[in-house]
Symmetry: C2
Subunit: 178 residues, 2 copies
Amino acid sequence: MVSLKAYIASSLDGFIAKKDGSVDWLHAEKYQLEKEDFGYERFMESIDCIVMGRITFETVLQFEPYPFETVPVIVVSKNPNYQIESKHQISIFTRPLRELVPFLETKGYQNVYVDGGKLIQSILMESLLDTITITQIPILLGSGIPLFGVTENEIELKHRKTQSYPNGFVQTEYEILK
Amino acid sequence: MVSLKAYIASSLDGFIAKKDGSVDWLHAEKYQLEKEDFGYERFMESIDCIVMGRITFETVLQFEPYPFETVPVIVVSKNPNYQIESKHQISIFTRPLRELVPFLETKGYQNVYVDGGKLIQSILMESLLDTITITQIPILLGSGIPLFGVTENEIELKHRKTQSYPNGFVQTEYEILK
C-alpha cells in the first residue's frame, strides 16, 4: 500500500514561503538548535521516494549540494511535454494525479514524501494525501504562499502527535481522514 | 500593567468561523470530552474584563443564557454614536484603539480578554496584544473568516506552551514580541 506523506513548515498564519518564494525567515539563526533537525532525518529515512512539484524541483536543483542524492525524485508537471535534464535520480510524471498511486505501486514505492506547496494542495484535494506533519514557526508573516488552499469540502484530520521545541517550533502530525 | 490576551479556536487552515459566521463545526459532538473545557474556565478566572468587538457582542447577546454574567464587557465600535441597551455589565468604547490601554488602566483592569476576530486583528496590528492562546481544531474548513489578517510587518512570537487533547485539539500559548 502506498502512503503519501507531507512534511512541511509554515508560519503561524499559514504561509510556507513569502510572496517571492523565499524561506529565509525559516532558516533564521534564532531558530537554529544544535544537533536538532526537528525529525527531518528520521522522516527521510522512513520514505523511499519523493514526489515533488515542478516549481519546487527547479528551485531545489539550484541548491549546492543537491539535497536528495540518495533518494529517487519524481517530478510532477501538468505539462505533458515537460522535460528536464538532471544528473540525479529523477523521473517525470505528467499524467493525471489519480494515476499517481498506481504508478508508484508499479515502481514498488510505499512511503512517499510529497513536497511542494501546490502539489500538497492538489494531492489533498484529490483525497490522496495520507499524513501531514506541520511544523509551525512562531512568526506571523502577514502574507505569502499559503500552505492550504481554498477547498469546497471540509477535510477531517486525526491528530497523531504534537511536539514542541525549545526554539518555539510546534510540530504536529495528522492523519487525513477519507 | 494591562495585559491583553486573546483566547481563540481556529481550524487547522486558520479560520475562526465559516463564511456565514457559524462555529457549529467547533461544537461538533465528536470533539466533546467529558469534564474537559480546554482550560477555558481557568482562563476566565484569570481575567478581570472582556474587550469585545461589536459584531461578536451582538452575537453573544443572543445566547441563552448570556455567558458573561459575572465579568464586565467593554464593547468596542468605531462608530462614535454606537449605543446598545443591555441589562448586563457592559460599557462602550468608541475611541481610537491606542487609547484603550489607558482607558483600561483608569478602570483598574489588568488582565483583559480580547474577543472577536476583527478586534484581535486590530489589536495585534496596533502592537497592543500581549498573548494569544490558539486551540487548533483538526479540520480544514477550506474557507471562512480568518483568524489572522494581512499585515505589512512580520510579528514574532514567543512560544510558551503547547498541550494536545484526546479529541485532537492542539492548544498553544504564545507571547507576542514587540
